[in-house]
Symmetry: C2
Subunit: 138 residues, 2 copies
Amino acid sequence: MNITADDILKQSHLSITSSRIKILNLFLETKGALAHGDIEKKFGGKFDRVTIYRTLQTFLDKGIIHSIPTADNSVQYALCKDDCTAGHHHDQHVHFICNQCGNTVCLDDVHVPTVKLPIGFTSTQVHMIVSGICKDCK
Amino acid sequence: MNITADDILKQSHLSITSSRIKILNLFLETKGALAHGDIEKKFGGKFDRVTIYRTLQTFLDKGIIHSIPTADNSVQYALCKDDCTAGHHHDQHVHFICNQCGNTVCLDDVHVPTVKLPIGFTSTQVHMIVSGICKDCK
DNA sequence: GTAACTGCAAAATATTTGCATCCTT
DNA sequence: AAGGATGCAAATATTTTGCAGTTAC
């Protein structure tokens, strides 16, 4: 049984509203990551720009989504895995950005190697962003 | 012998101008990475906002600096190593972002492990961003 | 002297905030 | 009914573009 947008909102103690459901469903349907602009385009004026900003921020706060660092400063968001709790992410997965189609996908099955940091450094989170050509654009 | 801002500009066939020298020197003096805002603050109105944008873009194009992906979408820039040529970066180094002091540093001595990508994916660049507490903030 | 770079002004974008209204619980 | 969420308007902030004046080579 797949988890529904409804479930996710309940788990995070958020009111179940139409825009949250729609945005969450978009994330659930999309295999890759989404930028603010993608969401806006997808719903073309269906609801307010500002609502998208606020909804994304709320989801971030609750740990429902996480942001993916990108080199071109477009902000990408993706659903968190089950082991993410509010404010404390365990997402150690690899993100792949295709230079051809521009899509960002989570490579869930690729394991992020642990790196040995210099003395005195403590790591709480590791992101690995690989860019290149994805299998669809090959 | 240390390389100078002057040398770098000559190597990239760029005119040697005051603002380019100053910005490059700032990079050379700074061990960590710089965001657009940092540069602006550092020179407090010394020269135009727009000049900074254009200078950074030029440096990016020439492969003098590279941008570092960050999770909070502030765009960070850092000097490229010698083995970077225009448009083709070999920077496989790890960046560390301190959650305490906010500084971004390049961990040049930490080797980025190669990851095995799923069939069909080709990688041209790998970024690894580790966040946590740096040795100075410990 | 010519091409390239800079500063200023302004346009285009992107993000944040305040407040009245509407929806969820 | 009460608290929270949304939409609209507007304030801020960020980035881009055009053009005239200046500087590097």
